[in-house]
């Protein structure tokens, strides 16, 4: 073990905490701008350290590194240490987290400039990155849970950053409570793991997973998956994410698009061998993921809040990742996770730029024609929209296509139909994705401007990070290109007798650290055929969106609105899921709590127990009050009585 390198990783992981402390404690002493610069620098330095380590890791295959920091928990037979696991998976994830975070920190300097409590903001943001790194780098599942809870806390703090408005504070609470439900399942899963494996270490769990009975594996994995649905906003626990959009936009970009919500996918990938033990769970993950993707994509079409559209889009894209994980295409899931982090963070930051330009306006019906006013933003938004729509040659085309292909060729012995159903839902979702994103783009940036304020382009400090992200999501795709497209591109190279190793670079990159399920026979011609399908679907969706929304108001849209008013309304109200949850869970829970409060708290505790204690105290006090009256002679009398008693007993002996 290389001593300097392990120190490097520890420093890189702890730096964000340092920034959080600095901003949190000494925030009063420094200026707003300096606070932002400190926060950005800590993350930036952390990123650079991870890059150094990454270069080392790629050169030396002697991974994974386990970096032991200290002992922590000794509970019965097992032990959980504070130690970090640095393998290719966690390093790539850390690179993504720190890189995107650093850009968003810089963006925040511009976006949050005029806000109050900017130091608190940067302190929370740094704290978030720190916990996220703990989650990613953790060597055992218990330490991962610490990071898991930490990011949940920071998410709560940042959604409720403007806590003085009730709606925002409530959204923060909702996010926290919904996450608690998932976390309960996650804890139960951890406890089951601990009782069956007697260890918390990821490597030992993955090594020993094959010995596990299928039923136990099913229970463990399904509990962990429920935990993941809470954190990664899948059905049924996705309801908090759209509400979380009331937080500052950079927070939505960082926490609710790029990093925290992908923690569930990361966790499943980390425990890949364990999940492979239960095909039932994999089928459930695949179906839930693809259904979530479809479900939220339909909602995204009807929403009018620019951030809500992106929030549902995030849920939908996370569904893609889960489908891939369910098809045990973990590298495809991770690849889509990384590309999604880039383009969705960029989309959110661009949305923030639009909102900034319009001084807080979020309703897309009151935008339009912003192309003229915001040339940079609109150009990048166009690129990002094409990317998420899955149009080549941008990154999401490669990653989404890989997922679609892997899901299609997947075979599930427990639920044989699952891959095909899942694939159908995902291909419809691809179409809907292109549709809703083109609707968003054309409604916001083309047509006539409907607002009254004059929009202004964002400052450089906000634009430069988005430019970097744009470059990333535009060129990152080929790294993970699947075999089909790779083979097409390699044909010219083959002619010259060279092998470019273009195929699946990303998979080879993370491959050694994640679970694989034998070798899947790759059918190149099938994959090329499927690429054509998804490209056609993407273009169809995009062009339909362009046809419907480019020239506003469009007569076709009017007709659709009138004919499908009822359906639209149901979808616009998010299928009444919030209302159903409210009726089924929140209200009964409220009444049960209320009656328990009335019965146990009011009657038994307050009246009987507390009442008794109060009476006893009162009577004792009443009796003792006699001695404390301040009259000299009474005090002497009491002293004399005491003396008398003393003397009596002494005489008695």
């Amino acid at each position: 073990m290389n001593y300097e390198l392990s120190n490097l990783i520890i420093i890189a992981t702890l730096l964000p905490f340092g920034g959080a402390l600095l901003n949190g404690i000494f925030g009063k002493l420094i200026s707003n701008r300096l606070s932002g610069i400190i926060a950005s620098l800590t993350i930036g330095v952390s990123f650079v350290l991870f890059v150094i380590f990454y270069l080392y890791v790629v050169k030396n295959s002697k991974v994974p590194y386990v970096i032991e920091i200290s002992n922590w928990l000794f509970l019965g037979k097992f032990q959980a240490d504070i130690s970090l696991l640095a393998d290719r998976l966690s390093i790539i994830m850390s690179l993504m987290v720190t890189g995107v975070s650093a850009l968003i920190h810089v963006y925040s300097i511009g976006y949050m400039e005029k806000e109050k409590g900017i130091k608190r903001y940067f302190s929370y943001l740094n704290l978030f990155v720190g916990f996220m790194l703990v989650l990613v780098m953790a060597e055992n599942i218990v330490l991962m849970f610490v990071g898991w809870e930490g990011v949940g806390l920071c998410s709560y703090l940042l959604i409720g950053f403007w806590f003085s408005e009730e709606e925002k504070a409530n959204a923060a609470r909702k996010a926290f409570i919904v996450n608690r439900i998932g976390d309960l399942a996650f804890i139960l899963g951890i406890l089951l793991i601990l009782s069956y494996f007697n260890t918390a270490s990821f490597r030992l769990i993955n090594d020993g997973a094959y010995k596990l009975p299928t039923t136990i594996a099913f229970f463990i994995t399904i509990l962990l998956f429920i935990g993941a649905t809470g954190k990664s906003a899948q059905i049924p626990l996705y309801v908090w994410l759209p509400d979380a959009m009331v937080g500052p936009t950079p927070v939505s970009a960082l926490i609710h698009a790029a990093t925290m919500v992908t923690a569930g996918v990361y966790m499943i990938t980390r425990l890949g061998n364990l999940f492979l033990m239960s095909e039932m769970t994999l089928a459930i993950i695949m179906l839930v993921g693809s259904f979530t993707a479809l479900f939220s994509a339909t909602i995204a079409i009807t929403q009018n809040d620019i951030k809500k559209v992106l929030a549902y889009s995030t849920i939908s894209q996370l569904g893609f990742m889960f489908s891939a994980a369910g098809a045990y295409a973990f590298s495809a899931a991770m690849f889509h996770l990384v590309t999604h982090a880039f383009f969705k963070a960029a989309l959110f930051l661009l949305a923030g730029s639009v909102i900034h330009a319009l001084s807080g306006e979020q309703d897309i019906n009151r935008m339009g024609g912003l192309e003229k006013y915001l040339p940079h933003t609109s150009l990048m938004f166009w690129l990002a929209s094409l990317t998420i729509a899955g149009i080549p040659p941008f990154s999401a085309f490669f990653s989404k296509d890989e997922i679609l292909y892997k899901v299609f060729i997947n075979e599930n012995s427990v639920v044989p139909l699952a891959p095909k159903i899942s694939y159908t839902m995902l291909i419809i979702t691809s179409f809907l994705t292109a549709l809703y994103i083109s609707r968003l783009y054309f409604k916001v940036f083309t047509g006539d401007y409907k607002g009254s304020l004059k929009p202004h382009e964002s400052p450089k400090v906000m634009l430069v990070p988005i430019y970097i992200l744009t470059v990333l999501f535009a060129i990152f795709g080929p790294i993970g290109m699947g075999s089909g497209i790779g083979h097409i591109l390699e044909i010219p190279a083959r002619i010259f007798g060279k092998d470019l190793h273009l195929v699946n670079t990303f998979e080879r990159l993370v491959g050694p650290s994640i679970a694989s399920f034998g070798t899947i026979s790759l059918d190149v011609s099938l994959e090329i055929f499927m690429i054509f399908i998804s490209v056609i679907v993407a273009f169809a969706g995009w062009l339909l969106g362009r046809y419907l929304y480019c020239h506003q108001p469009s007569p076709v849209v009017e007709v659709i609105n009138q004919k499908f008013y009822r359906v639209q309304n149901i979808i616009y109200r998010k299928y009444f899921v919030d209302e159903v949850y409210d009726f089924l869970i929140v209200k009964p829970y409220y009444y049960i709590s209320r009656s328990l409060f009335e019965l146990i708290d009011r009657v038994i505790i307050e009246f009987i127990i507390i009442g008794f204690i109060v009476k006893v105290t009162y009577i004792t006090g009443y009796l003792l009050r006699f001695f404390q009256n301040g009259y000299l002679y009474k005090i002497i009398c009491v002293g004399l009585i005491g003396l008398g008693i003393l003397v009596y007993f002494m005489m008695g002996k």
């Binding site: 404390q628 009256n629 301040g630 009259y631 000299l632 002497i636 004399l640």
Partner: protein
């Protein structure tokens, strides 16, 4: 023989104690304390005589000395209290309550 002295001392002590308890005037209370001290002095002297041990008489002298000091301090406290509260009645001064 010693009996009479002890009874005298007891009577004096009781008188002093009753004075302290019953009277409200701080100066009179001080006089009561002086009574009690002196009754103990008498007891010491008489027992010293009875046992032919002169140390008891020295103790009586020490008690007188302490009584003189105590009286000086006590009286000055009373004067100070009179300046603050405008009264030397013990019932008017109930600071001990708090």
């Amino acid at each position: 023989m010693i009996y009479h002295y002890v009874v005298l001392s007891l009577i004096l002590f009781s008188l002093g104690l009753i004075t302290v308890i019953v009277r409200r005037n701080l100066i009179v209370i001080l006089i009561g304390i002086e009574f009690m001290l002196n009754s103990v002095g008498i007891l010491f002297v008489s027992y010293a005589r009875f046992y032919n041990n002169y140390i008891g008489e020295f103790v009586a002298l020490v008690i007188m000395l302490i009584a003189a000091c105590e009286m000086a301090i006590g009286l000055s406290i009373v004067v100070a209290m009179f300046r603050i509260y405008g009264s030397v009645k013990s019932n008017d001064i109930r600071e001990l309550k708090n």
